[in-house]
């Protein structure tokens, strides 16, 4: 099993959710996040004075998936959230040792 973590633009959440739904992903965890990448943040101007805002609002989306579908899921997330502009985010995959569903005690793939 793998954990797919995606940092995405908040405006892209609906597209992402729809894409994963089509791929049969049953759940996800979404949290608000702030951060920046290589380009840093952006500039705002108030009465002619520039303020640089380093930490930009993002969403962190986490999805647990079977090994066999992980490539499709990553591809689906990337396609759904890409705008082509700076700040589109990142997706990474990490190995997961075990998963337990709290309500039933199911483990492994059963717990997804």
């Amino acid at each position: 099993m793998k954990l797919v973590t995606a940092i995405v633009q908040p405006s892209k959440l609906d597209d992402l959710k729809e894409a994963l739904g089509r791929l049969g992903v049953l759940g996800m965890t979404v949290s608000e996040a702030q951060g920046y990448g290589r380009q840093k943040g952006h500039k705002e101007v108030y009465r002619g004075a520039e303020y640089s805002v380093d930490f930009i609002e993002k969403l962190r989306v986490e999805v647990l998936v079977e090994d066999s579908t992980v490539d499709k899921v990553v591809d689906g997330i990337v396609t759904a959230t890409r705008t082509g502009k700076v700040g589109d985010g990142k997706v990474w995959v990490t190995a997961v040792e075990s998963v337990v569903r709290v309500r039933t005690g199911d483990t492994g793939v059963e717990a997804l």
Binding site: Y46, G48, Y51
Partner: protein, 445 residues
Amino acid sequence: MNSGDTAWVLVSAALVLLMTPGLAFFYGGMVRSRGVLNMLMMSLGSIGVVGVLWVLFGYSAAFGTDIGSLGLLGNPAEFFGLSQVLGEDAVSGTIPTLAFAGFQAMFAILTVALISGAIADRARFGPWLLFAGLWATLVYFPVAHWVFAFDTKDEAGNVTAVGGWIANRLAAIDFAGGTAVHINAGAAALALVLVLGKRKGWPKEPGKPHNLPFVVLGAGLLWFGWFGFNSGSALAANATAAVVLVNTLVATSAAMLGWLLIERIRDGHATTLGAASGIVAGLVAITPACSSVTPLGAIAIGAITGAVCALAVSLKYRFGYDDSLDVVGVHLVGGLMGTLLVGLFASAAAPAGVAGLFYGGGLDQLWRQAVGAAAVLVYSFVLSLVIALVVKLVVGFRLSEQDEVEGIDETEHAETAYHFGDGRPSYRSPVRTDEVERRLEGSNA
């Protein structure tokens, strides 16, 4: 007494009072969230202090019988407490004297509140109230006398009671307070920031506005109230009031466009803060001029001032004074622009009946405007500097560095504006809820 005129002035007085809470929102939205309550409180504090002083001796100092007929100050004891003017026979023109006194009280309150925008996040609240009271007494009341107290004349045109020197001897036009209100407050703001110094971290971390919708709400309330401020200054429900109302609308609209145009060219974007700021700059500029120009003249004054003020707010970075919310850039510069432009755009067709340079009047009115503006600027700046230094030396004016970092709302007022989550009960709380429950047990409550 005329009931229509009286109704208009009473309503205008209420409109002008609303400007001060409006100003509180205008300023409050521009500071960081940890200082918004103090920003609101400095305006509310002005209402408290100046409202009381006005009734005690302020009205009398501004509009009482001139001491020594020099046009410098009214007799502060003459109408002490205002109980002398409660009767039906106490009239000022076509309205009750008390209606006029109440209307003018709101001007004094607003002028003091305007100053507070320059010293956001760093002035202790008690010393601010002390400054407000001293400044109203020593600066606003005399200057209001210079500008707003007109000579009383008998039917033959002979002066029976002498008024202020700027209004009568100099004959500078300041319909609703370009000099008395805006140059006055702007010069005081400059003096105050020089005494108090910069905020910690300025200009590197100036802190961006925490709530622009508040700023627009405040600007809207200011504009609404300003119709009473300017149009009510006609002191009658008449044609002058109507001209003034239209000029106040159109100059402000043009100023907003002027400010936005400069922003678009200089910064690439027309901003919300720019629109709200342009509105206030336009209101400031048309205040002295609203009875002496045509609506086209008002458009010119508004557009020019909106653009100039948009450029002027960056002066503080060039000269290194921390005028937090641009009281100098908007009120001092805007007030100077409006006051001086009367000398150029005044039209004999307007109610004031004076022609400026562009309307065939030559330079006569322009030098009168310049002398009036300079006199108020210098008097206000020097006196404000002295009062601020005295307050600083006697009781201390500035917040400690630690308190400034923690946030003025919490350290000065023991409050915070915004609550995220429920918070925890404090064990220092004087009344514990379990004690209250115990006390209520067995009672009938």
